[in-house]
Each structure stands twice: as structure tokens, then as C-alpha cells.
């Protein structure tokens, strides 16, 4: 009984590890954003899919970029900080202020992602889920409540259409 109930329950989240990573995300974010505590945080990632054809070998290659995504409702600003799955470091922050961007919307196809166009030249697609098990590819963090808050903010206050 115990074995089968465990089997059907699916994987369980290690909350200790998740909380530790959430603190690391906060520390890194505050390191590169001066007023970092004013922003709520979630983990997101980008996917860069490219096709290749090397003679008789062809297919597609996907590159995953991990992101710490911060948002402030009053300032209507999203800040994106690139990082790595083990949260050993991060890159510089990029600011997406609502009054400065070209457009923002939630994409449903091909993937469920939050799309921001800072200008006509390029865009960023932020994918986010409650929890992703693969620690080698993604930051191990449980964020059901935070993701719901971010989705609500993005759809009701940030999206431009």
C-alpha cells in the first residue's frame, strides 16, 4: 500500500534544497541589482533551438539558459539575470521597463512562454514552471505561489496586448 501510494504520487520535492536555492537566487540577484529586495523572484529559462545539417548527420540542438527573473509591480519592471543551474554565479542584469519596451505578451504555441520585445531587433522568451526535476539543466526550486503571482502580474499589468 505504502509502496504503491508513493509510486503514484510521483517525485517529491526536496524543500530543503529548494529553499537553499531560493536564498542563493536572492543573494545573486541582490549582488547585481542595487535595490534587489524590492523585487520578487522566480526562476525561468530560455531555449535556443538551432537546426544543423552536417552532411549525413542532421538534427536540432537546444541550448538552455537559466535566468533569475525579478519583478516589481509598482515600477512595472522585469529584471532578468542570467545564471547557471548550481547558482555559483550570475551575469549582469537586464532591465525591461514597461514604458520602454516595444511589446510583451504570453505565448501559448510552440511553448508556453512570457515574451518581451525590448525593441524591433530581438526578443526574450522566458519559460517558467512550478518545479523542474533535472538539476543538471535547471535550477532546483519549487515556486508554485511565486509563478502564479508573476503570471498574474505579467498578464494584468505588464503585457501590452
Amino acid at each position: 500500500m505504502g509502496f504503491f501510494s508513493k509510486l503514484f504520487k510521483g517525485p517529491e520535492i526536496d524543500m530543503e534544497k529548494s529553499n537553499l536555492n531560493a536564498k542563493k537566487m536572492r543573494t545573486l540577484f541582490n549582488q547585481v541589482v542595487p535595490d534587489g529586495d524590492e523585487y520578487k523572484l522566480i526562476f525561468g529559462y530560455t531555449e535556443d533551438v538551432s537546426r544543423f545539417n552536417f552532411g549525413f548527420v542532421h538534427g536540432s540542438k537546444t541550448k538552455i539558459g537559466n535566468l533569475i527573473v525579478g519583478w516589481n509591480e509598482e515600477k512595472e519592471t522585469i529584471i532578468v539575470v542570467p545564471t547557471v543551474p548550481d547558482l555559483s554565479g550570475c551575469g549582469d542584469a537586464t532591465y525591461y521597463r514597461r514604458n520602454e519596451i516595444l511589446k510583451a505578451y504570453r505565448n501559448k504555441y510552440p511553448t508556453d512562454a512570457f515574451i518581451i520585445y525590448p525593441d524591433k531587433k530581438g526578443y526574450i522568451g522566458i519559460n517558467a514552471y512550478d518545479w523542474l526535476e533535472d538539476e543538471k539543466l535547471y535550477v532546483y526550486v519549487s515556486q508554485e505561489k511565486e509563478l502564479a503571482e508573476f503570471t498574474d502580474f505579467f498578464m494584468n499589468r505588464y503585457a501590452t496586448k
Binding site: K23, K24, R26, T27, L28, N30, Q31, V32, F52, F54, G55, F56, V57, L87, S88, G89, C90, G91, D92
Partner: protein, 60 residues
């Protein structure tokens, strides 16, 4: 189909897969090196390592 022929076909497929992977690695690394030579390293790649001291303070 005799067992030997099935075994031979499996080995043949394994060899093709291994050769395909090696071929992909070689071509991909050559292309990466060419890209690096042509465009150089991206200058906007500042990296900040996790400040353990601040992290530990937050932890307590």
C-alpha cells in the same frame, strides 16, 4: 533470420550511431572555433560569483 545476421545488423547500426556522434562533435567543434575566430568573445559577459559571506548572513 539467423541469429548471426541480426547480431551483425545491430553491430552495424551501433557503428553508424557512434560514427555519427563523432562526426557531429568534430564538425561542431570546428564551426565553434571558426565562429570564435571571426567574431571573438562577447564583451558583455561580466560574471559575478556567489558572495558566500552575504549568502551565509542571509542564511542565519
Amino acid at each position: 533470420m539467423p541469429f548471426g545476421e541480426i547480431f551483425g545488423a545491430v553491430i552495424f547500426l551501433i557503428v553508424i550511431v557512434i560514427f555519427g556522434n563523432i562526426w557531429y562533435s568534430i564538425v561542431d567543434s570546428i564551426l565553434e572555433k571558426i565562429k570564435y575566430k571571426l567574431f571573438g568573445k562577447n564583451e558583455n559577459t561580466a560574471w559575478h560569483t556567489l558572495d558566500e559571506e552575504k549568502f551565509e548572513k542571509k542564511d542565519n
